[in-house]
């Protein structure tokens, strides 16, 4: 099957936008009338539902942040009563107080439909065995994928996380054709399998990985695909959006956000203005059809870009690129937004330097000054200063092209930059000192 719901997935863009406008209008009316939280917010901004006269008027509406959810812990902004709810999920709270998400039966149906469309778009369906190695429980990953996979008629193998050797045995014995987990867990699984004498590429029927819940890169995709002999697809979601909702299609070029469920904007995190098409910014989503916890202009804090052109797969819903960083990581250098991930991406394409780097930001007079320290590779070391200067200037040039801001490069000795086992700290901002 090519599309789960072709009528919607391939609907002409103009019709989709018309549908979004109607959904937005009724959402705003509903929240203004029944949600004290949104009512107050809109009053504060002097916005009335009648001011929404076209889709772009969404930009008049106030933003909503994670802190709004935390402040309303556990369920102050729910727009359904407890009797109407059929499930709770609770976020882990690693970055603050946990947040609670409630679901009505219709909310669960919508979530499941979203994943049914997504899984179909990567070529899965009846006859596939989908191993769900995301955690089951308060975390949304396991149960979300579980229901989505069942809906398309695939056979679910609900292994959850852990007990890796048993997961590999079951993968072989029951013929899993797809696995849903974090990319790092899949890499770990590949290593454990090799130790057991099992090659995932040769000894299993695995053909697809549905990978997400943590940042990963195009390089990691290539490594996984090459090593394990599968196709690796990005999946995106957060508990506030229900859970994992959207995946890449067979084109593997950004995940489709279903326009009838969510209205996507990419905004400049500093000004709140919409960025130009294709530009990078903060992913902002309005959830159009949820009953228990709808959200208007929710700023997730993830940085990415969006492509609204029709996809070669035929779907008309916009594609959002893999998450490239968090707003919290963003640096503002001479008024320009710079993400450490952009620096990393640019450096990855430069053979003369290693993968470790450090960004040092300082203020010289009134100007911000950015220095990128990189380790010179052994093979690229030349005894001639002029050769080294060419390498240094070449990197500066490439960084300037990638970042739109000047960065000085310092070549340092290999192994001299700090290494991190957990979360790396690549930025040294001396401006605030």
């Amino acid at each position: 099957m090519r599309c789960w719901e072709p009528r919607i997935e391939e609907m002409p863009i103009a019709e989709l936008k018309e549908m979004q406008y109607k959904l937005l209008k009724s959402l705003v009316y509903r929240l203004y009338s029944f949600s004290p939280f949104y009512h107050d917010r809109m009053k504060e901004q002097n916005i009335h539902p009648d001011d929404i006269r076209e889709l772009l008027d969404v930009r008049k509406l106030p933003f909503m942040f994670k802190r709004d959810l935390r402040d309303s812990y556990p369920d102050k902004i729910f727009t359904a009563t407890q009797e109407e709810l059929v499930r709770y999920h609770v976020s882990s709270g690693t970055t603050g107080k946990p947040t609670v998400v409630g679901y009505t039966q219709n909310d669960l149906n919508g979530w499941t439909t979203s994943l049914a469309r997504a899984l179909t778009s990567i070529g899965l369906g009846r006859g596939d065995v989908i191993q769900v190695s995301y955690g089951y429980g308060l975390f949304t990953g396991g149960l979300g994928l579980h229901y989505g996979a069942e809906r398309i008629g695939a056979t679910v193998l609900p292994t959850s996380v852990g007990n890796t050797e048993r997961q590999i045995e079951l993968m072989q014995d029951l013929g899993s054709t797809a696995i849903a987990c974090t990319p790092s867990y899949l890499l770990y699984m590949g290593e454990v399998a090799e130790k057991m004498g099992v090659s995932i590429k040769k000894d299993t029927q695995l053909k697809a990985g549905i990978l997400g819940a943590e940042p990963w890169t195009e390089r990691m995709r290539l490594r996984i695909e090459d090593w394990l002999g599968i196709k690796a697809f990005d999946i995106y979601g957060t508990s506030e959006l229900s859970g994992p909702m959207f995946t890449e299609c067979s084109e593997q070029n950004g995940f489709h956000v279903w326009s009838d469920m969510a209205l996507t904007e990419i905004i400049d995190p500093k000004t709140g203005e919409t960025v130009a098409p294709g530009e990078k910014g903060e992913l902002t989503i309005t959830i159009l059809q949820k009953e228990a916890l709808p959200m208007i202009r929710y700023r997730i804090g993830d940085i990415t870009s969006m492509d609204e052109d029709v996809c070669p797969c035929g779907r008309t819903h916009p594609r959002v690129q893999r998450i490239q960083g968090r707003v919290d990581d963003m640096l503002i250098i001479r008024g320009i937004n710079v993400f450490p991930s952009q620096v990393e991406y640019a450096l990855m394409a430069i053979p003369e330097v290693g993968q470790h780097f450090q960004i040092v930001v300082d203020r010289k007079g009134a100007l911000d000054d950015m220095l990128v320290r990189v380790e010179l590779n052994k093979e690229s070391f030349s005894d001639k200063i002029t050769d080294l200067m060419i390498i240094k200037e070449g990197i500066e040039h490439k960084l300037r092209n990638a970042l739109n801001v000047n960065a000085d490069v310092e070549l340092v000795e290999p192994g001299s930059l700090p290494r991190y086992e957990g979360k790396s700290k690549r930025v040294l901002d001396r401006r605030s000192l």
Binding site: L376, F381, K384
Partner: protein, 144 residues
């Protein structure tokens, strides 16, 4: 003529331009009992290259690599100069006339006379020109 015996293995070390780096290099070589016969430092913005002639280049290379330095070998030649006014001119002019470019050079003046160490773009040509001119090249065996 056997040009090879005049080709000297210089060891070049990438170093950050900050206090203590030369000491780290010198200490490592001292520990290995490697003697430094001549050396120079070239410096650019933030980094430098330490170039040295040592008696045991392989040993020096291994030691410095093992503690994380970027190290490379470079072919250089060494010429005896007349230790008097105009001594450097004779060599430099000869190479210039032969259209051989000196990429960098350093010198020392010891008890056996003045020695010019040269990194040139055409090593073989330079060796032939210099020996034809009557100047004395120093064999690599003198250093290591």
């Amino acid at each position: 003529m056997d040009v090879k015996k005049y080709v000297i293995k210089q060891i070049s070390i990438f170093s950050e331009n900050r206090p203590g780096r030369l000491a780290a290099i010198a200490h490592a070589l001292g520990e290995e009992n490697v003697n430094i016969l001549a050396f120079s430092i070239a410096e650019a913005n933030g980094f430098g290259v330490v170039r040295a002639l040592v008696d045991q280049p392989e040993k020096a290379y291994k030691k410095l690599s093992s503690i994380g330095f970027n190290v490379a070998f470079t072919d250089v030649i060494a010429v005896h100069m007349h230790d008097r006014p105009g001594g450097l001119y004779e060599i430099a002019k000869m190479l210039g006339d032969a259209n051989i470019n000196i990429e960098y050079s350093y010198a020392y003046s010891g008890k056996e006379g003045a020695v010019l160490i040269l990194r040139v773009d055409q090593v073989v040509d330079a060796i032939e020109k210099i020996s034809k001119s009557g100047a004395t090249l120093i064999e690599s065996s003198v250093f290591h």
